[in-house]
């Protein structure tokens, strides 16, 4: 056992967050469930290094950190491909168990396409559990490492690992290579006029730069409707709110739990992996799916097997 193993942040990425599967069940206290934007991708990365699927790992956005492993370790990375190098000159492959030698540095650069990847380390990241989760919640500054993104010089403690491990390889679910988000009608869809609904379902919207884990702000045809403010209602990630300027916002993982803007539609759970990879400038289109069909969708399946 290596209870004292650590990973050192030699250089921080743009937004490196400690995350796990989130903290559902605290929304009634004003705390969103948060957690990995693509929980399955983190769960699979964990399995690649022999961790429980619920272990904490890193969510990296846009551009990643350089990590040093003084005692060595195992790493699994899933999600968007980033440029990456190892100090041992070994190739860095996504979706498989990587074994790092003591002292080795794993250096991640920019995302080649998409936005986020999830990096699990054998043993998991040992940060304090806050409200049943190790996930960072930036808007209120708690969870993860002191409630913030990683910085140069940070040292993260790792949990115990169960050696020896099998080397594994994972295959992501089939890629959907269009820019469509599947939505079911929202509770206030009826407040929008025909022109607004027609625009929402036929015009493209572009992801605005002021987007983050709280919400993806979109720019496109403004959606008009009669009422501007409503009584606050419970909301959740994927809900598409329309504020008075008519430009929709897709609520994200760290978004509010109640909101007073009409919800025109809701992106279905199966399209979270796609939401997680959107970045400013990307174009999206909304397509309807029947509620029953959405709820009957089988979870997109990752396959995991031994690595030769």
């Amino acid at each position: 056992m290596t209870g004292l193993a650590v990973v050192e942040i030699v250089r921080a990425g743009l937004c490196d967050l400690v995350v796990d599967q989130g903290r559902p069940g605290y929304e009634h206290l004003g705390v969103p469930s948060g957690g990995a934007a693509d929980p399955d991708a983190l769960a699979v990365a964990n399995r690649l290094v022999g961790n429980d699927a619920t272990a904490a790992g890193l969510e990296l956005a846009y551009s990643g950190p350089a990590l040093r492993f003084p005692q060595g370790g195992t790493v699994g990375i899933c999600g968007a491909c980033f440029t990456a190098t190892r100090s041992s000159d070994t190739a860095v492959k996504w979706n498989e168990t990587l074994v790092l030698a003591p002292g080795e540095i794993l250096d991640l650069g920019a995302a080649r396409e998409g936005c986020r990847c999830w990096l699990a380390i054998g043993g998991g990241l040992e940060v304090p559990v806050v409200m049943d989760s190790r996930s960072t919640f930036l808007p209120a500054g708690f969870g993860g490492l002191q409630g913030r993104g990683l910085r140069h010089g940070d040292v993260l403690r790792l949990g115990e690992t169960a050696d020896p491990k099998r080397l594994l390889r994972a295959t992501p679910p089939a890629e959907l290579n269009d820019n469509c988000l599947r939505v079911v009608a929202g509770p206030q869809a009826g407040l929008f006029d025909d022109a607004g609904l027609a625009a929402f379902f036929s015009e493209p919207y572009r992801v605005a730069s002021a987007s983050d884990r709280r919400g993806l702000r979109l720019n496109g045809t403004a959606l008009s409707r009669a009422t501007t403010e409503l009584p606050s209602q419970g909301v959740l990630p994927g809900a598409v709110q329309v504020p008075p300027n008519g430009q929709p916002i897709i609520l994200g993982w760290d978004g509010p739990v109640t909101g007073g803007y009409p919800v025109i539609a809701g992106v279905i759970r199966a399209d979270w992996p796609r939401l997680a990879q959107l970045r400013p400038g990307d174009e999206v289109r909304f397509v309807t799916i029947e509620l029953e069909a959405a709820r009957a969708l089988a979870d997109a399946e990752w396959k995991i097997g031994g690595r030769a």
């Binding site: 009634h28 004003g30 409200m131 009608a185 209602q233 959740l236 509620l291």
Partner: protein, 213 residues
């Protein structure tokens, strides 16, 4: 335009918010329905979020809506047997630098500042729901006369502990940050501390009274 998926067949008053959230209209009985729902064992439900005349139930992935959940959603409420709720006494100082909107609100209500404060502190409030920030309470029970719309221009910085008025609700900012409510005072009470085993001071249904310093 055709709007699919708005309702589950056979049940009125339910709407879907994405494919995971069931929104239930509660009329004026949000807290009673909320308390009934949290008293049940509903394995398919991940979270229950009370709000303004509605409740959102977030379903677990792959959950099927059971007969037990349908029953809990449709069961008549016994409004006489409200569960006893906690009472919080919040010591607050009103006006001055910590309450920059008090003077304007008092004038709007046609009251002296002293009378405005007396009315605010005489009322008993109920935590209708929490939202906006972790631990931010929407307090129902604000006297009609003291109600005021949110500020046209939200403030960039509202200090932690600020007492606020937003439409029909009183509120308290747990943490400093931007905010659009009218600010009338401040309290030293800690509403949210993630290091504590129970991080949030208020829960839906709790009672709150203010004491002017």
């Amino acid at each position: 335009m055709d709007l699919p998926n708005e309702r589950i067949p056979d049940c009125t008053g339910w709407r879907w918010v994405t494919d995971r959230g069931l929104r239930l209209e509660t009329g004026g009985h949000t807290l009673a329905r909320y308390q009934l729902l949290i008293s049940r064992d509903l394995p398919e439900v991940e979270s229950i979020i009370p709000a303004d005349d509605s409740i959102l139930l977030v379903l677990r992935r792959g959950a099927v809506i059971s007969a037990g959940l349908r029953a809990a959603l449709e069961m008549p409420l016994d409004l006489r047997s409200q569960t006893a709720s906690r009472l919080h006494r919040i010591v607050a100082s009103y006006g001055g630098k910590a309450g920059p909107d008090l003077a304007a609100l008092a004038e709007r209500a046609g009251l002296s500042q002293q009378d405005w404060i007396a009315q605010h502190a005489a009322a008993e409030y109920r935590v209708a729901f929490l939202g906006f920030q972790p631990g931010f309470p929407y307090l129902a029970g604000l006297p009609e006369k003291l109600r005021a719309p949110r500020r046209a221009e939200p403030r960039v910085h509202v200090p932690a502990g600020s007492l606020a008025i937003g439409g029909p609700y009183a509120g308290i900012y747990p943490k400093s940050g931007p905010g659009g409510w009218q600010i009338v005072g401040v309290t030293e009470a800690v509403l949210f501390d993630p290091r504590q085993s129970s991080p949030v001071l208020f829960a839906p249904g709790d009672r709150v009274r203010f004491e002017a310093l």
